[in-house]
Symmetry: C2
Subunit: 239 residues, 2 copies
DNA sequence: ACAAAAGTGTTTTTCTTACACCCATGT
DNA sequence: ACATGGGTGTAAGAAAAACACTTTTGT
């Protein structure tokens, strides 16, 4: 009961772990770092690290995100708490409680890894298996959460750059869900949701090199999607 | 990077905090305990406590739940991680990272408080303000999460006893959302969702003392609600 | 007889779906 | 010319909302 008996609690190490997700070449990718020491030396792991004395988990996560991605400004990026993993055996050496985060990025610059990690790279989600600790589980949880939140929040724009086309936004859904969506209907639904996207007046961009230039949009102020954009189990464009 | 430098991390105390919610007399109630010591002596707080050396946060939360509610069997009760609160100043005495949980109960027996809490009681949600620490925030987050999850999960049955009527289930939605729902339409939607509820053959119960006896249902195996039961902002039955 | 709560049916309206078609650009 | 991706229109079907109505109990 918060009794503050000095012997009533055990000291724990507290860390953050990050599932940094992005879309490259129409496939979900995750940022992994190579572990240099035991345990799990040589294995891939999610980036992360210890909380500093005066940091909240959110602050530590954003600091790690900046270090690992090498991006100068990570303030606009979507970062959200996933859950906390606290099973006693999850780290073989000591008791470590880890607050896991999911971070969503538009396709970032390749050379990241400015942090203390020996090596860091983007790995396609489907090839990211056999990670250190319980990171397989954390990564799977992150993917599930993101997939689910696409349905009823405006999260998809977090995978897009500041200005994007509706085609790019649709490809976010299709890539994460592994399904094909009808373009006219997708378009209508997005535009019918107030505050989901806002048109950039007069702007257009060539997307595939070919085709009609697409109008550009910015992420709007809305966060929730009412009504939701439901994942309809139809054939086409499997993951 | 999980480097295990003995000086690379600060030891933290790790606790769990529980937002134990139930419905009594058509109002959302939360279980609060009175604090006996400083800080916040005499104030109400969410129940909680320190993790034991070999416990996960989930295990600790369920142990606290059993202690505080006095229920012999808490295995069937819904318990879910909310998020982790780790702001440096959230406890004035020391660095405490708290993993918050939401627990949902059917209307429980009044005399609980078998734990180490001086006093514990059910408080209507709207009167639970001015709590110790950041518990106001945790409680608000719990309510938001539960309200949102009613839309797209089968969570509502967690507020109901093992066997319940559709009217009782509807009252869960109406109480948590503070809106009125159309009974025929609610009924159809629930019954049209496979695995949401299962009829108890031949069983019926008088509900309000008056009226036709209602058929009884059990919670089904489904966890997700596809399509969701959307919160329609209509007038009537305000919170 | 009446009130209260459960349960059924039906009509209207709204939303979703599927698909046809036109537009602008590069090769 | 045609392939490629963007954008518009529309008719059929499904789902939701609104509401009238019947049933079964207690008083």
């Amino acid at each position: 009961m918060h009794g503050y008996d000095k012997h009533a609690f055990e000291p724990f190490a507290v860390t953050v772990d990050l599932a940094v997700l992005t879309l490259r070449a129409d496939a979900l990718h995750v940022l992994l770092v190579a572990r240099g020491q035991e345990p799990y030396a040589g294995r891939w792991a999610l980036p992360g690290g210890f909380l500093l004395p005066d940091e909240s988990a959110e602050t530590a996560a954003r600091r790690e995100l900046a270090e690992e991605t090498g991006l100068a400004d990570v303030t606009g990026l979507h970062l959200e708490q996933l859950r906390t993993y606290s099973e006693p055996g999850r780290d073989p050496r000591m008791r470590v409680v880890s607050v896991a985060f999911a971070a969503l990025l538009p396709d970032p610059p390749e050379p990241h890894g400015g942090g203390d990690a020996a090596e860091a790279r983007w790995v396609p989600y489907d090839e990211a298996r056999g990670l250190a600790f319980d990171h397989d589980r954390i990564l799977a949880d992150a993917r599930d959460r993101v997939g689910a939140k696409l349905e009823y929040t405006c999260l998809a724009t977090a995978f897009c750059p500041a200005e994007f086309t509706l085609g790019e936004l649709q490809r976010v859904y299709e890539t994460v869900w592994g399904t094909a969506l009808d373009r006219p209907n997708f378009r209508r639904k997005v535009l019918a949701t107030p505050g989901f996207v806002e048109p950039v007046p007069g702007a257009a961009r060539l997307t595939g090199g070919r085709g009609k230039p697409a109008a550009l949009y910015r992420a709007g102020p809305a966060t929730a999607l009412h009504p939701p954009l439901l994942r309809t189990p139809r054939e086409g464009r499997p993951a």
